[in-house]
Symmetry: C2
Subunit: 222 residues, 2 copies
DNA sequence: GTTAAGCTGTGAATGGTTTCACAATGTGAT
DNA sequence: ATCACATTGTGAAACCATTCACAGCTTAAC
C-alpha cells in the first residue's frame, strides 16, 4: 500500500479530506456571520475540531491566514474548493431504486452541486424507463453502455445485499472509480476503485453500544 | 477527555467496536460454510481486515482460539455478542418521517434484532397518529413523555437541518443517550450522549474526491 | 513610530492504532 | 508416543494523527 505523488501534490489522509469537506460546508453555510475573517478556533468550534487541527489541515492545502486576524473567509473557501474539486461537474449514478434509493434520490434531486445524479438503474422493469425526481431510470442491463456514455465516475449502490457484489462488478466494468455502498456487504473491487461503506444497521448498533456505557468518545464526522 | 473504567471492563476504542460489530455480522451470516472453526485470516478476508488485527481485537474481548485450528465459530459469536450486547432489548425511536426517515423505518421494520424501533415522531400533524411500517407516529410535542415511558435510549434523527439541534435537545431531555444523526449539522450535546453522524452529501463528496485521484486507501467500515 | 496583544505556522512531543515477527502451543499425521 | 506444522497470542516496532507550545508576525491602538 505505497503511494507516492508526482511531487506537486501532497499525500493527504482520508481523515483530513473528510474534515476539509466539513470545513467547506460550514463556511459556505452561515452567511449571517458577515465578518470577513475567521479564526481557526472559531471554525474549529463550528466543526467540533481543535484549533490546532484546523490550522494544520489548512496548512496542508496551502491556505494561509494572517496573524491576529485569522483567515479570510472568501479566500479560505476558494482555497479549500480548489483543493477538493476539479473544474467541471462529476456525474453520479444511483443503482437500486428501492425505498432507500428513492429517499436518497429525493435528497440529491434539486441540487446545485458539483455532483449531479444523472441516471438511476434498477432491475425491476416496473420502475425502468420512468422518470423519478427528474431522473431517468434505466434497466441494469444497460448499465455498462449508459454509464460509459454519460461519463459516470461515481455510483451510489442501494441494491439488496445479494445483488451487491455483482452490481459492483458491473459498475467497475463501466469505468466507475468510486462507490458509496449502502449494501451490508464487504465489496471486493480492484485497487483503483474507492469504496465508502454506510451500513445503517451497524451504525445503529454502534450507537446503541456506546449509549449503554456512559463513555463518550471524541467527536468525529463520518 | 480521560476515561477510566471501574476495572472489570477494559476500555476499548471506537474503531475496535466497529470491527467487532462487523465480525459478528459476517460470522452470523454465511451459514453455508459449515466448518466448525475459522482462522483469523479467513475472518479477516471476509471483513477486509488483517489477520493480526482480528486476533488483537478478539483478544481484547477475551475470545481465545486454538493453535492450528482457529476459533470455534459458535463460541466466537457468543463471545462477541456477550461483549457487544446486554441481555434485554434496546428501544429505538425515529424522529422525522420524511423520505429518508420512512426509508430507514422500512429498513428496520421487520427485524428480529436486539434493537427495536418502537416509536416514531414528526411535527406534521398529517403524519402523526398513523401507523407506518407497524410503528405508531407520535407528535414531537409528546416526545418527552412517550420516550421516557417507552424507555427509549437510542434515537435516529432524520429531521431537516434547521430543526435538528432543537430536536436533539428534546431527545437528550427525554433521557436518550445515543443519537444516530442524519441531519447535516454538528450537534451540541452533553458529554454522556454519544452521537454518530451520517451525512450523505459529505460521504458522496468524499467518494468523488478519491475517485478522482487514483489513490486507494485502506478498507474500513463506517 | 512604538508597543502590546493575540493569532498563525510548525517542530517536537504525545498518544493511539496497526503491523511485525516470533515464541508458545495445540493438532493431526505417522 | 512423537514429530512437524500452522496458527495463536502478544511484546515490540512502526506508523499515523493529534496536541502542545512557542517563535515570529501582523495588526490595531496610542
Amino acid at each position: 500500500m505505497k503511494k507516492q505523488q508526482g511531487g506537486s501534490e501532497r499525500t493527504i489522509s482520508e481523515r483530513t479530506v473528510s474534515r476539509l469537506i466539513l470545513y467547506r460546508k460550514r463556511l459556505s453555510g452561515a452567511h449571517e456571520h458577515q465578518k470577513r475573517f475567521i479564526y481557526s478556533y472559531e471554525l474549529g468550534a463550528m466543526c467540533g475540531v481543535s484549533s490546532a487541527q484546523v490550522r494544520r489541515d489548512l496548512m496542508l492545502v496551502g491556505c494561509a491566514g494572517s496573524p491576529n486576524r485569522g483567515y479570510d473567509r472568501r479566500e479560505l473557501l476558494a482555497g479549500i474548493e480548489e483543493f477538493l474539486y476539479r473544474p467541471g461537474t462529476q456525474n453520479v449514478a444511483l443503482v437500486g431504486l428501492g425505498n432507500l434509493g428513492r429517499a436518497i434520490l429525493s435528497f440529491f434531486a434539486g441540487r446545485r452541486s458539483r455532483l449531479a445524479v444523472v441516471a438511476t438503474f434498477d432491475i425491476d422493469s416496473a420502475k425502468t424507463n420512468c422518470v423519478t425526481f427528474g431522473c431517468r431510470c434505466y434497466p441494469v442491463a444497460d448499465l455498462r453502455t449508459v454509464a460509459a456514455a454519460a461519463r459516470i465516475e461515481v455510483a451510489m449502490l442501494t441494491v439488496p445485499a445479494a445483488a451487491a457484489q455483482a452490481t459492483a462488478d458491473l459498475l467497475v466494468d463501466a469505468g466507475v472509480r468510486g462507490i458509496l455502498n449502502f449494501a451490508p456487504v464487504t465489496l471486493r473491487v480492484p485497487d483503483h476503485v474507492f469504496v465508502e461503506d454506510i451500513d445503517l444497521a451497524m451504525s445503529l448498533e454502534k450507537v446503541a453500544f456506546f449509549a449503554r456505557r456512559g463513555q463518550q468518545m471524541e467527536r468525529k464526522h463520518a
